[in-house]
Structure formats: C-alpha cells, structure tokens
C-alpha cells in the first residue's frame, strides 16, 4: 500500500523520552581524526607555538618597554620544549606591599558590607583574598618569594600549553557528540583554538607588562584569577553557539528523534 506524505506518518515525540541515534562511525572518526590530532597538534608543535607566542608578545612589549628588554628562553615541558620570555620584574618594596594590602582590605570591607551578594562579587572577593595573601607574603617574607618574572613566565607558558590541549580536547569532545556535520565540529575546534591562541598572546603580554612596569606582587592574583576559568568562558560560549544551532536544526527535522 502506498502511503503518501500527507498521511502524516511522522510523529513528533515529546521532550520527556526522546533521544537521538548516534553515528558511532562518525563520532569515532571525529574523535580519532580531528579531536585527538588537534589536541596533539599543540603538543607536537609546542616549540613553534610557544615560540610564536613569545615572539609576538616580545614585539608588542618592546614597543613600549624598549628593545632588548626581553629574551627568549626554552625549557622542557612534559610533551616537548617550550619557549618563553625572560625578563626582570619589579619586586615590591614594603610600602608598596602595605599600600596594596590596605587598599585591598578597604575594598574587601566595602564588598562585605555595602555590596549585594552576587556571584561576581564573590569572584572579586576571592580574587582580592588571593591578592591579600600575596601582599602579606611580600610584607613578611619578601626574600622567600619563589618566582622571578622569568620563572613566572615559564610557569605561565606551561599552564598555557595545558590550556591549549585541554580546551581543544574538551571542545572537540563536546561538539563531536552533537548531531552536527563534521565540518561544523572542525570549525568549532578551530575557532576555539584560534581564540585560545589570540587570548593567550594578549593575556601573556598584559601580565608581563603589568608585572614589569608595576610589580610582581600581582603575580598570584593573575595566575589564579585570570587563569583557566577565563578560558572556560570562551569555550562554553562557543559551545552554546553550537548547541543553539544544533537545537534549531533538530527542530526542523522532526524525523531524527527516536522514542
């Protein structure tokens, strides 16, 4: 018997128990041919990537801080060699540390008693507490501070390599498992990678500038507050764009849902 299209065989399934069919070949292909290689790309080319990052930052920084302020060093990372910038930072004197301590305390006081409870205020609060610890450290144990700016630069670059690899891997995994065309997954991974690299450059440049011009007192705050959590922001944002697109696509193609 011939059933014509207008006899409406397709049923719209409710959100409660509907699900999708996974193309295991497609997903496995994406994971093994795109996600893993993309993640490994950062590791295999770590000298070149970190080298580029370091060179770009050096060029930008030397426009304001003078040519020769920075040199490029290399060190061993668990997955390969990495380059980083070597330079001298400014150690805070006692007055500077005390001043920062008092200002931080005042801001904390204002936050505690005058500002409303919000996630952003908690975030700022925690960031200021980290800075407070740094101030106390420099007030009481300035000689014991374990990092020069060069050592921080190395630490930052190692963290950054971890971020590159993990962000690519996570973005690849979460988008591979969405029912979208492979090229969209590749686009998401590529977009995340490019954003990650550009962000790494501007962040690295900004941090080194601040610590070279002002003080390494801000090192802890920068490391903990503006670290991987900020990278997650753009990862989640890109994911949300992809997920929104996926949802829109699935709304038009009712037949893909199973019950």
């Amino acid at each position: 018997m011939l059933v014509t299209a207008n006899m409406k065989q397709t049923i719209r399934y409710a959100r409660t128990y509907r699900y999708l069919m996974l193309s295991k070949v497609r997903t496995a292909g994406l994971v093994f041919l795109v996600v893993l290689p993309a993640s490994c790309f950062w590791a295999f080319f770590s000298p070149e990537i970190t080298g580029a990052l370091a060179y770009i930052s050096k060029d930008i920084l030397e426009t304001g801080l003078g040519t020769g302020s920075f040199t490029i060093g290399m060190t061993n990372f668990s997955l390969g060699d990495i380059s980083y910038l070597l330079t001298e930072g400014i150690m805070p004197d006692i007055l500077f540390s005390l001043g920062n301590f008092l200002v931080t305390l005042i801001i904390l006081f204002i936050l505690t008693f005058f500002l409303k409870i919000r996630p952003i205020t908690i975030f700022i609060y925690i960031a200021l507490l980290v800075h407070l610890c740094s101030c106390l450290f420099f007030i009481f144990f300035p000689e014991l501070f374990p990092y020069t700016l060069a050592e921080y630069s190395e630490l930052y670059m190692k963290q950054q390599m971890g971020i590159f690899i993990c962000m690519t891997f996570v973005m690849g995994c979460v988008t591979s498992f969405l029912p979208i065309a492979p090229w969209k997954v590749i686009l998401a991974v590529l977009g995340c990678g490019i954003y990650s690299f550009v962000f790494a450059v501007v962040r690295y440049t900004t941090f080194l500038f601040l610590m070279k011009e002002f003080s390494v007192l801000y090192m802890a705050c920068m490391f903990f507050t503006f670290g991987p959590l900020i990278d997650f922001l753009y990862l989640v944002s890109i994911y949300s764009l992809v997920a929104d697109h996926t949802s829109g696509m699935l709304a038009k193609d009712v037949g893909v849902w199973k019950w």
Binding site: K8, L61, E213
Partner: protein, 333 residues
C-alpha cells in the same frame, strides 16, 4: 606604554567580555525567555485522538450534516466532504470525509484525511486510511491499514492481517483477528481471536498482599504464594501456580500454563506466558511480552494495562480488559 601595548590590554579585556555578549543580547531581546510549556489540562485518555478530532469537528456547533462541502478548522483549515453519495467507482478520497449513513465502500479504498462516520461503517479489505472516528460500530476489512488511529464509540472489529500503525480503540468492545499488527489498543474489553473462554475459572484467591519477599525465584506447580515479590534474576511460575500479590522481576519471567498473578507485574526483561494465564492487574515490561493462547489480562469492570517497550505478541483466545501499548511492534499470531 605604547599604543600597541594599550591595544593589547584592551583586546585582553574585550576577549574576556566577549563570551558574555550573546547572553547579554539574549537578556535584552528575550527571544527564549518563556518557561517550558506544560499542558495543565493534559490527562491520559487512550481515545484522545478521536475525542480531540470530534471536539474540533463538532465542538463549534457549526458543522452542517447536510452540506456537501464545507470548511472546518483542525490543525489547519480543511475541506470536509459529505460523502454519502459516492461517485461510482470512487476509491480515493483526498479530503476530510464524513458519512451520515453507512456507506458502500470499495475494496482498496484510500482515505488521505480523517473520516467521521455518524452511523456504522465497514471498511472493506485492503482499505488504506489515515484516521477514522465512528459514532457506532466499525469494522475494518482484511489486510487494511490505518496510518494513525481508528476509533468506534461502541464496537470495533478488526479483521485478519490488518496493520494498525498507531491506535485502535473502542468505547465498548474491540475484537481483533489473527495476523494484525498494532501499537496501541484500548477498549473496556479487547477480545483477540475470539477472546478467552475461561473467564469463569479465573477466581480470585483470598490472600494477603502485604510484605515484600526478595529471595524467591519461582513458585512450584499448584502452589499459592501470598505477598509481593521482587526477583533479582529470572522468575518462573510453574504450572497452575498462583501469586497473590504483585511481582517485580529483573530477569526473564515465565508463566507456565494455567499460572496466575493476582496483582501487577513489572519486568525489566522478557515476559512469557505459555497459555491459560491470568494477570489480574497491569503488566509492564521494559522488554517484550509474549502471551500464549487463552490468557486474560485484567478483570471485568476495571481498566488494566499491558505495556511493553520492545514488543507484544498475543495468541488466540486472549482477553485484555483495558489498554495495550508497545513502543516496539505488537502482533497477533
């Protein structure tokens, strides 16, 4: 500080803020701000399709039974044809159709849209129809197919080898012959291939239904066990055994001939009834239900259910009091 460093710092701030921009725009535009919709009036009605269709068709009171053609509003505007006078040899019906009288239809007729019949209606063999609501009795001929639903206010009779893609329901009595395939059935009494003839022998045994037993995996032939049972593995009721209580089985369930469960049955896997069995309550399986001849599900003057995820097979002389549903394929041997 050079302009390049300044721009770099600005870009740093911008790139931290940029991920929030789509969300900020959504907060302003509120394109997707509404809460998820819950239908507050939704109740489970096995005859929902027919009820809804008739409500839309007749609810406004503007339907004229005399007009040969009129517009009605269902999910969209449709043309409703009064088809009591059929064109000679007419077998294809492209529009909504309603019959005031019992029509003389030809085998192989095709109805692309819904049918509403105010009197009895008999669909001859090899009819293909989308949906039909009948206010009296309805008969579906051999090897016919219903794409969506079919409902009769009184008795529905489905002949051999019919395919019921979604739902077949009746207000009083549903009879189904062999070879049919289905997903949903409902009637106060559903007789499959003649229905069960042993109803008078299905006597309720007085017994306690309290307590939960976990260390039982079978009931011996002829034995009566009272109370509810949870079996972590397979479970067997041997011939003539009776469980006066409800059963939950994580493995396969086997009811040998003549055994009964005077309660509800929940199974995670396959449920097999070899024949002559009685399940007084509802039976629900995440796997398949396969019933041999002479089984009874439910009891008179009550509604119970036979629900299975992966499929249901009924044999001859089976009676169900109430509702049958499977997400897989239902079939009658």
């Amino acid at each position: 500080m050079s302009i390049y460093i300044g721009l770099c710092m600005l870009l740093f701030v911008l790139m931290m803020v940029l991920p929030f921009v789509p969300g900020w725009l959504e907060m302003r535009r509120k394109k997707d701000v509404r809460h998820l919709y819950i239908n507050g009036d939704f109740v489970r009605n096995p005859r929902y399709f027919s009820t809804s269709f008739k409500q839309k068709l007749l609810g406004t009171g503007s339907l004229s039974i005399l007009k040969e053609e009129q517009e009605v509003m269902l999910s969209k505007k449709e043309i409703l044809i009064q088809a009591d006078k059929l064109t000679a040899g007419q077998k294809k019906f492209e529009n909504l159709v309603f019959f005031n009288q019992q029509p003389e239809l030809l085998p192989g007729s095709v109805f692309h849209k819904e049918i509403y019949a105010r009197q009895n209606i008999q669909f001859p063999e090899e009819t293909l129809l989308r949906a039909a609501a009948c206010e009296e009795n309805c008969r579906l001929g051999k090897s016919s197919r219903v794409i969506r639903w079919i409902d009769a206010e009184r008795q529905m009779e489905i002949a051999e080898n019919c395919q019921l893609d979604l739902s077949a329901t009746a207000g009083e009595h549903l009879l189904i012959a062999s070879g049919c395939r289905f997903r949903r059935l409902y009637a106060p009494m559903i007789d499959i291939q003649g229905g069960a003839s042993r109803l008078q022998q299905m006597m309720e045994i007085a017994g306690t239904q309290d307590g939960l037993q976990r260390d039982v995996n079978h009931i011996e032939a002829g034995q009566v066990l009272g109370g509810n049972v949870v079996a972590k593995g397979d479970f067997t009721l041997h011939e003539g055994a009776v469980l006066v209580g409800s059963l939950k089985v994580y493995g396969d369930l086997l009811l040998e001939e003549g055994s009964q469960i005077q309660g509800n049955v929940f199974g995670e896997k396959r449920i097999r009834l070899l024949g002559g069995n009685w399940i007084r309550g509802s039976i629900f399986s995440q796997g398949r239900i396969e019933a041999g001849p002479g089984c009874i599900f439910g009891h008179a003057d009550a509604v119970e259910s036979v629900v299975a995820r992966n499929g249901i097979v009924f044999s001859s002389h089976t009676t169900v009091y109430g509702f049958v549903l499977t997400e897989g394929e239902g079939s009658i041997l």
